[in-house]
Symmetry: D2
């Protein structure tokens, strides 16, 4: 009988620190924020959101070391490989041969395949890829699955959930992926909505689907809103900066910094969503606090 283990979900977050020069000094603060404020359990360094592909090898090493220093307690470990996306592999065998080469460079370290067809254009089904992969890549450990093909994902769960870690990477579809057996998630919104998503995981584990939906709809409402404004890695940095107070710095080319207009609208939306989760009394307190913040010199009668 299939029995998914809901209590052990984990949340991962991308590193997003970067300036004209990468800024290593804020990483400690960033780690603290992710762990304490967002409940993040692991970090995914030098990924898409961390603009890994815009960094030099030297910079990627520096970042990985700095994160490792601060994040020992979090327990990050393992490396992930993406499909090549200029010359694109067109069948399973070619992709496996490529990933084997990459994994063999670090023979003692767990290896993950990072499946992200919307950016790579490589659509080889993961169900098919996983079939027999352990014989080809002994360090193979799991998949970060960043695609909306939940049939493929469900087949991975059905056939491989005992053997591999199956992390889901489309944040706005996480609840749907949990329904078919996802046991962990990696995504950029967990930088600033990690806490809400942890609450969703808890609600789901307790079979309180109505509450879980409420949290999923919160992420969905935010993303639906910002997608219409244009939303990518640059905008994610801006949202993380205003949410955490930690300066995430500008993106590198070809990305351009988020506009002031975007930041204002995204901030207002985020505030209204957070307020929506408060009870009547909490809400009253919030409004009073905001009022006092703006009119600090109001004298009591």
């Amino acid at each position: 009988i299939l029995r998914p283990k809901y209590p052990v979900q984990k949340l991962y977050a991308f590193s997003t620190i970067q300036e004209v020069e990468i800024n290593l000094t804020v990483i400690g603060q960033y780690v603290d924020y992710l762990v304490k404020e967002q409940g993040v359990k692991n970090v995914f360094v030098n990924g898409t959101t961390g603009e890994g592909l815009a960094l030099s090898t030297q910079e990627r090493k520096q970042l990985a070391e700095e994160w490792a220093k601060h994040a020992a307690a979090i327990g990050a470990s393992g490396i992930a490989g993406i499909a090549p996306f200029f010359f694109k592999p067109t069948n399973k065998d070619t992709l496996v041969a490529f990933l084997r080469e990459v994994a063999s460079e670090a023979p003692g370290i767990p290896f993950y395949y990072y499946h992200i067809p919307p950016l790579t254009g490589v659509k080889i089904r993961v169900e098919e890829l996983l079939d027999g992969i352990k014989e080809q890549i002994p360090t193979f450990q799991g998949v970060k699955f960043s695609d909306t093909d939940l049939l493929d994902f469900a087949q991975c769960v059905k056939n491989h959930k005992e053997q591999f870690v199956l992390l889901y990477g489309v944040d706005e579809h996480l609840l749907s992926a949990l329904a078919v057996g996802a046991t962990g998630a990696v995504g950029s919104t967990y930088n600033y909505l990690g806490k809400k998503n942890n609450l969703m995981l808890e609600a789901f584990a307790k079979q309180d689907l109505a509450l879980a939906q409420r949290y999923q709809f919160c992420t969905g409402e935010f993303l639906s809103f910002v997608f219409k404004l244009g939303f990518g890695v640059a905008q994610t940095k801006a949202v993380m900066t205003f949410t955490s107070g930690i300066p995430m710095g500008p993106p590198r080319l070809p990305l351009l910094s988020a506009s002031v207009d975007f930041i204002e609208k995204a901030k207002a939306k985020m505030t209204s969503l957070i307020l929506g989760f408060l009870s009547g009394m909490d809400l009253l307190a919030c409004v009073l606090l905001a009022f006092l913040e703006h009119y600090p010199k109001v004298e009591p009668l």
Copy 2:
């Protein structure tokens, strides 16, 4: 508080009867099968699976009348409109104007929008479409949502579930759609896997997710298998024919009948899946029955 109503899900099935001449005589038998064997609650006549677009207006009328005669007890009612797909509407206003024209031809009858971007190429978000549609189309009642964009679907649930019926149409993702609030489903696999899906709905309503997954994985395994062989409306007819015993007839051009090779492989897969759901004793009984069917003259000792 959001509170989805799981107990009231409905299953709908497409009509797939058609031969060189449409064959009205088997519809009674077909209705009986859907209701008794598959637990289908409503039928969607002249849709994609029923090859509505390959029929003349006259034929569609005959079919609709014949179904209505037999299916009074099922309670089918309402019409559905698809987006035009040669000249494609490029924004909400144009699509609403078009649907309004269609709906106004039947002013007393509930109207549904049938959203199927993979076939129409029209990707206007339904969340946006529904916003204010009741003022434009007074008979508007709901959506058949045949797409994998579960963010869009979840936003429809979040904003419109009190007002509209939101039916989900990607059968292999149904459990994922239930997780974000779907309350009904329309799809071609319910012709032959309707019972399994009704059991999934029941398990989901009772919060037995492990069991619900088992049923979803059954549909997923079957579809993953036949997708690799090439699977469309013609193959659906063949599967329904060997499952129900009712002759569904060949498809019309540009569809060609399923090959004998397809039918054999699909049949073997379906059998192994059905057997997979049986307990040890049931399985033994099954094998004995199959044995007796092949060797009917075996004498008891």
Copy 3:
């Protein structure tokens, strides 16, 4: 030896007359305009630009008859079939079987295949389709090729130009198609830029490539400009109306009439392009005429 016959190019134009009710009364005037002002040799009735797919069968018949009455001198003859585009044929055999059915309804009339993948989504290579088609469809006569795959088109010319008529349908690429052997063209811009295109054909036939390019760049410049504004069948009607002075009427849903802003900008662009073809003296005369038109009461000294 390959020897394309350049002197015999033909130009075809789509019919674009249509109002809330189709307006048959202007067709005579439309025919006169196409023949006399634009040098069009054949017409393609009820095609894409003529919104054939938005008309009833009855309306299509009325239009075809009215055009035939006026266009006897032009010599229109033959019917064209498009690939089905809801259920899409996925291989040559299915498409041929479908076209054979259509062609067999009019056994004495030359049949053309209208290849337009950007609208139908059917990308079966025409080179492959033509191979052996005459045995399957005895009335097969040629292709209207509305795609930018000039390798496929060139292969059709290379292998089939003696047997079939190969008309090219991407107006902005016509000179490029002539270079690989097109001997005729069908397209919507020939309604209002037919004369310029006939001059291009003449220049090409006389091997004056520099002059031919000048005419091609004129069409290209106009289309590049209007594509940025949003350009489709509705906008084509508007351009034809202001160019010919014949009221083309509004499009049917899902198309909406061109905006006033579009019409003004397109008109200004067209005027500046036409002026660009005039010599210095002609230009002076034009400016004087325009001046007099605006200030008709200026008295000579």
Copy 4:
């Protein structure tokens, strides 16, 4: 008046030498072959066909130096930049900002933009990109245009042919691009069909279009044939190896070496195409030679 300068077309060829270790020793021989046998005037080093993106920076430098040493007489000079294709620029300004960064690293060297949307997914129109680019990138010199959008290419010719070099990069469409004003070509087939293409350029310059078509159809027929078998950079290497006799070595991952079956079929096709260009007497001589090669011991009577 527009007056394209046909006599000065140039042909460029990609470098395709590479083995498990890059093999610098055959480059001298390769240069000789390209110049003497194929009439190539310039080389494009470390491009798509040369698998530049599969090489380390160190390897790319070594290759560029080795080519420069041997190719001084050819006069290669200039660097080319491609659009970033993981994070994709979505508008002109971002792409220009990115290219400016790249070009500024080599301030004295002419800079070219390598436009190849089928591989990068970046579809920003080149016409728009070129508008004002010289003010942003002072070393900007031209474009390698590897796309089938000949309207965009023609607009570049119309507006910028005095200022920039416009090289066309879709080999099977070259004659169509010449018709709208291309004055040079860069492509992988010029490695082995360079001579035929130079003859096409000559025929085109002399306005012998029938002959030019014959050469274009030769390239087209070869590519149509190998596309059906699956054709990419790995297969190009194989074709170049059997045509030139110079060992091009295997490709790097994710590309896999061409199959023996592919090589045999491609070789047979190439041979039959080359034979097709011979006169009757030449052909007879050829057949005799081939006969003698197979039956060397046949004694004269």
